[in-house]
Amino acid sequence: MNADDSRRDLAELARLLPDPAGHDLPAGRHLVLKEHLMSELRIADRPTAGSPVRRRRRKPAIVVAVAMAAAVAVVLALLPRGTSGASPAAMRLLAKIAAAAGAQPIAHVRNNQFSYISSWVSYQICQGGSGNNCVMEKPHERQIWQSVSNQCVTGLVREYAQDTPLTFSSNYLHCPYPGDIHDPTYRFLQRLPTNPRALLGLIEREMQGQLPRPEEAFTTIGDLIGEAIAPPAVSAALYRAAALIPGVTVVANATDAIGRHGVAVAFTYQDTRTEWIFSSKTLQYLGSRSVDLATGATNGMSAVTQRAFVDRAGQLPG
């Protein structure tokens, strides 16, 4: 295909589609959003946090002189994949966690039910325009109900004593929609492969273009084991897939949002270490924590206290 063909094809597509109305941000909003961004960047701009220059020196293989956008593909190609995997200790721990997760009983779920997850979460609150004045808020309860089979069904989030309907953000859904790897329903998770390498491959294909690959894979799996319910065999496969991610390590002692101690599987990116915390005894998932290694401060944590299936959004199990 040459450039003329491309132009012809694009022209035909433009003709087939309605003209999209393009315009500026509403009056005033450009300024508001810009000011917000500038203020957030000042909060984020701490000299101690890993500066880009320092990171690049540590990883010279990533510095490749190519056109900017091409760098995206090159970085993906250069990051280690699959071959090395997690640290030996993390592999051993994740194997045990996977075995425990796989041994859980299988729930019997009807399509019209909702998954229910209750957790305690705490975020970092920063005052004013400086990153030096940040504190962790007191943990608060967060409850979420989601349809087990269809993202088009409205769910519910109850947090800060406030109910918010939970509706999927895309208007392009073909209903019923079982979700995807980023926003799955239980039924979607049931259909995932249980071979860890196949599962990681699927996750990586879905996040095409996200950077960098190991961090996104760890984050994606973290979302699936945190605030979602997966069948035992899929949970086990997710942990075994995490063991294939380079850079995953073990943190011997970690504490979740309600003070439960455990052992953690961790991944560090740009001086922030994200931990998935598990009970040392039962190897059950307890919660997660994120630590800024530059300051040693915790900047986010959670503790899952209940997972169940219920008949209505808003209904408590029991």
Partner: protein, 205 residues
């Protein structure tokens, strides 16, 4: 783009990001609007895209052309998973002042209603396509990226861009007559109208 602005963005100079915002916020806003079909979501896409750009700034090459394709690639990823992007920047997003309840000018409101009708047509047509096809259309047809640049922005092979565009073209041809006029397009497109018109909340989690 001036090399020193680019260097400033790589080095994390907030003022350089301010200039980047002024230059490209509109393009990101329009892309977000077309991919989510939602006004307020498009505003969130703008904020999240620039927060993500800040996070990923070390990966910009020191030399190169406009940063617009890079930003649009980030915006596509943000749209794919607004929930996760919002969660990643949860604290920052909670600090955005809410938009005024009453629009500043009646003219603006009227313009918005027209745009909403136009968007409905776009939504119905795009609703017939797969997500990957919509993204490529938004980048190549409406944001004027060439195939190679769109491929780089999304991190996919250029062959993927071509095959998605030709699939989208075949699909749209079956839905829209060759001589369609925009005013009559609506009857020709079997979109899911109830869904397209459905109020769309941000998914908060």
């Amino acid at each position: 783009m001036e090399p020193n602005l680019r260097a400033g963005i790589r080095a994390g100079d907030p003022d350089a990001f301010g200039l980047l915002f002024d230059e490209h916020a509109r393009a990101v806003y329009n892309l977000g609007f077309r991919l989510t079909a939602n006004w307020s979501a498009a505003e969130d896409v703008v904020s999240l895209t620039f927060l993500e750009a800040w996070r990923l700034r070390a990966r910009i090459d020191p030399a190169g052309e406009s940063l617009r394709p890079w930003l649009l690639g980030i915006a596509v990823n943000v749209c794919r998973n607004l929930a996760r992007a919002s969660r990643r920047h949860q604290a920052a997003m909670s600090r955005i002042p809410p938009p005024p309840v009453v629009p500043d000018f009646a003219d603006e409101l009227a313009g918005r209603l027209d745009d909403t009708a136009a968007l409905q047509l776009v939504t119905e047509a795009l609703g017939a396509l797969r997500r990957g096809e919509r993204e490529i259309i938004a980048l190549c047809v409406w944001s004027d990226l060439d195939y190679a640049t769109a491929a780089q922005a999304l991190g996919v092979p250029v062959g993927t861009v071509r095959s998605r565009l030709s699939r989208a073209r075949r699909r749209l041809r079956t839905l829209v007559p060759a001589d369609r006029e925009p005013a009559h397009g609506r009857e020709q497109v079997p979109g899911n109208r109830a869904n397209a018109a459905r109020p769309s909340w941000e998914k908060e989690r």
